[in-house]
């Protein structure tokens, strides 16, 4: 295949499913879907939708979860960076950030539920000595009506993402110089950061923030675990309608998916207002000239909150593992009375099957995404042209369009074409989400290879293909495997595409774990949630071990 084809093919595979999926969502939303007997356009699906009880409550909850969790995560990111960048505490937290990012959303959500529920681990630590409880109290968590458990779960997962994106942008900002200047003018740490670094930094991570907002407003798996049920958030209700054996409910679901798309756009519109407001606050603060040197409380607060959120995921994973091997475990006891492998042995054949699916789907999606990414980057290198800001925006499209709005359409699409749900279809949909992350992880290392190496290679008479295979790919082996591991963890975390496109016939660790959420068997949930945690680690272990072995005698090839 000629190299020039790679960008074209990549865009087609990235945007094709989204466009086809959106189209196949919109048509039935307006009554047209011949495969199910909808022969003409009408507004019936929408009038069905308006008549659903509690619809606006569900819609409002989705917007609320999106906006509140994004504001929280972004504020904590800003204050934590402002107060603690390049300190020892910062580096200590930083070590947890990347592993945290590879924890699938659903596993993190289970961890939080097992930690904070009335009979959760924290309550067991505090009871009965501090609380006096000898049986679990009765507050509603997770699943509270205001969706605060869900907001907490989303904030916990968004925070490491935003911190990591900020750290990636940091070197281009020459922040240290600017902070020095601000400190020289007598500004406190936090104020100096907000005035001199934050505006530019925010500009760099803005697309990521919008992606976070869109994701949080339309999340399904975390909402199934932590979200309310009376009523549930809109995406959860959409999934119900989509899976309803009554096929006419698909029209209702399509109309709902269009509404969901509208809600995300509305949330983005509201976010533009939030940006304006934040900008005004910052600039009026700057104009006032207040130095705010006594910011110790803010700084300590940001550290405490960040550490608490990180600790929540860490403790959550520990309690998940504990439950998977727990025998009898009475309420206020901190540890089970006995340990047993019964939950594991009882699940072993099913667990192996879903692990096999998980690795098969993830492995294929990552392989295709890696070849496409490398082809695009090599094309960019040889032609001397990168796609610029527009190409970056295209990469973000799959992260900005709510999954549920087009994945459901894709399911309808394959239904109307009579395609049976197959492995290939699931892999192609995973590819839509794996590719952007893999590309974004690999692009910088790829572009940072010393261009003079190419001159040395050409001086030896080696053409671009020899240079690619013998020099560039080996040099970048670690970066390629790491980007692949990131892509693999993205694939593992996919719930909705796996469920809807796989039609339940290709269960993965994530769909299996989330399916168990309503059953409430903590031991079996522990097994699958723990597998969810371990599976992505396999990718990162390979990414560390293979280059370390191959280049064991090459000092400059070490990280």
């Amino acid at each position: 295949m000629p190299l020039a084809m790679f960008p074209v093919l990549t865009l087609a595979l990235l945007l094709g499913p989204i466009i086809a999926g959106l189209a196949a969502t919109f048509l039935p939303a307006f009554g047209y879907f011949p495969a199910l007997g909808g022969e003409e356009f009408n507004f019936e699906p929408f009038s069905m939708l308006w008549n659903q009880p509690g619809l606006w409550q569900s819609a409002w909850l989705s917007i609320k979860v999106g906006l509140v969790s994004t504001i929280l995560a972004l504020t904590i990111t800003a204050l934590f960076l402002a107060g603690w960048h390049s300190t020892r505490s910062f580096r200590a937290v930083q070590g947890f950030i990347s592993p945290l990012l590879s924890v699938p959303h659903a596993a993190a959500a289970f961890g939080i539920a097992f930690l904070l529920a009335p009979s959760g681990w924290l309550m067991r630590f505090a009871s009965p000595e501090l609380t006096g409880f000898t049986r679990p109290p009765t507050y509603l968590f997770p699943g509270d009506e205001g969706a605060w458990a869900l907001i907490l779960g989303m904030t916990v997962k968004e925070l490491p993402f935003l911190i990591l994106m900020s750290l990636a942008a940091w070197p281009q900002l020459r922040a240290d110089k600017k902070l020095q200047v601000a400190a020289g003018l007598g500004y406190g740490r936090v104020a100096g950061f907000l005035h001199s670094v934050w505006p530019q930094l925010y500009g760099q991570i803005r697309l990521a923030v919008f992606a976070v907002l869109a994701f949080a407003a339309s999340v399904v798996d975390v909402a199934l675990i932590l979200g309310p049920s009376t009523p549930a958030t809109l995406p959860v209700r959409l999934l119900d309608w989509m899976n309803d054996p009554d096929l006419s409910k698909r029209f209702l679901a399509s109309a709902g998916a269009v509404l969901q798309l509208g809600l995300v756009l509305a949330a983005m519109g509201a976010w533009l207002a939030v940006e304006k407001l934040g900008g005004l606050m910052c600039s009026s603060l700057a104009a006032s000239g207040r130095r705010m040197t006594r910011d110790g409380l803010v700084r300590r607060g940001a550290l405490v909150v960040t550490v608490a959120l990180v600790a929540m995921v860490v403790l959550g994973t520990i309690v998940l593992a504990l439950w998977s091997v727990a025998g009898f475990w009475r309420f206020p006891d901190v540890l089970p009375q006995a340990f047993t492998l019964k939950s594991w042995s009882g699940q072993s054949s099913q667990a192996l099957r879903v692990l096999g699916n998980t690795f098969l789907i993830g492995g294929l999606a990552v392989a295709v995404a890696a070849v496409l990414t490398i082809g695009c980057l090599e094309r960019e290198h040889r032609s001397g042209r990168d796609g610029g800001q527009r190409a970056l925006l295209l990469l973000y499209v799959p992260l900005l369009v709510p999954q549920i709005a087009f994945v459901f359409g894709l399911q309808m699409f394959s239904l109307s074409l009579g395609i049976d749900t197959s492995l290939a279809a699931v892999v192609l949909v995973h590819l839509v989400f794996v590719l952007p992350y893999l590309f974004l992880s690999l692009a910088d290392p790829w572009r940072n290879v010393d261009p003079r190496f190419a001159q040395v290679g050409a001086g030896m008479g080696h053409g671009p293909n020899v240079y690619l295979w013998r020099v560039r790919l080996p040099l970048l082996l670690r970066a390629i495997l790491t980007a692949a591991a990131v892509g693999f963890s993205v694939s593992i975390a996919q719930y909705l595409p796996t469920l809807l496109i796989g039609g339940g016939r290709l269960p993965t660790v994530t769909t299996e774990a989330v399916a168990l959420a309503s059953g409430g068997n903590r031991r079996i949930i522990g097994v699958y949630a723990f597998l969810q945690l371990v599976a992505p680690l396999v990718g990162f272990v390979i990414a560390a071990a293979v280059p370390a072995f191959l280049f064991r005698n090459r000092r400059e090839m070490r990280p």
């Binding site: 001397g384 080996p474 090459r554 000092r555």
Partner: protein
């Protein structure tokens, strides 16, 4: 016009103008016969390296150039970089860090040399720079002077028809610089290669001994 130039050996830089953002950086018209050194001097940022980039085939797209460069009578500018047989020495040795010292050298040997002869040739090259027995070493464990010598040996093993030197001595300490200069210029004159040296160090130009062009 080809019949006037195609008998010329060495490098023929024919009425070359290099332009960046509408500003002319360089205008050169000269001939570099085999075995001689043409030195381009100027402060950093003056665009003197752009001449080497043009000849090597790596002029960034922001630059534009007119004129022609001929090597042994054939125009270079339309050839892809790897067909030009022009070797560049940089201020860093740029040994490939994932290959052994010997691996770097073998990689440079033309594919016409086959089998065990490739390794033998690389071992000979190492011996000629007083580094016999270094074949399996990690380049990262070499001293600065050793790296510079391996870079030169690697360059010559590729059998280039012209050498481009991009401030190759500037990062070496004073003691090494003299011996490295001698090694490079002797190798070039033994092989009768035309050389273009870009530098901001007058001592380099003096050691090179050829005409000097000031940017």
């Amino acid at each position: 016009m080809t019949d006037m130039t195609d008998t010329t050996n060495g490098l023929d830089i024919s009425d070359v103008h290099i332009v960046l953002d509408g500003r002319e950086l360089l205008a050169i018209d000269t001939q570099v016969p085999p075995g001689s050194v043409f030195t381009v001097m100027g402060p950093s940022g003056s665009g003197k390296s752009s001449l080497l980039n043009l000849i090597g085939g790596f002029l960034p797209p922001a630059f534009s150039a007119s004129g022609d460069v001929l090597l042994d009578g054939k125009s270079l500018l339309k050839l892809p970089p790897h067909k030009r047989r022009v070797g560049t020495l940089f201020q860093d040795a740029l040994l490939f860090p994932h290959m052994s010292v010997g691996g770097n050298l073998v990689f440079a040997i033309p594919s016409a040399v086959k089998g065990a002869a490739r390794r033998a040739k690389a071992e000979d090259a190492l011996a000629s720079i007083d580094m016999a027995g270094f074949f399996d070493r990690d380049p990262a464990t070499l001293s600065g002077g050793q790296r510079a010598r391996v870079a030169l040996a690697r360059l010559l093993l590729a059998e280039p028809r012209a050498l481009l030197l991009d401030e190759p001595f500037s990062k070496l300490d004073a003691a090494l610089r003299g011996s490295m200069r001698e090694l490079v210029f002797r190798a070039a004159s033994e092989r009768e290669l035309p050389v273009i040296l870009v530098t901001h160090d007058a001592a380099d130009a003096e050691a090179a001994g050829g005409p000097v062009f000031q940017v």
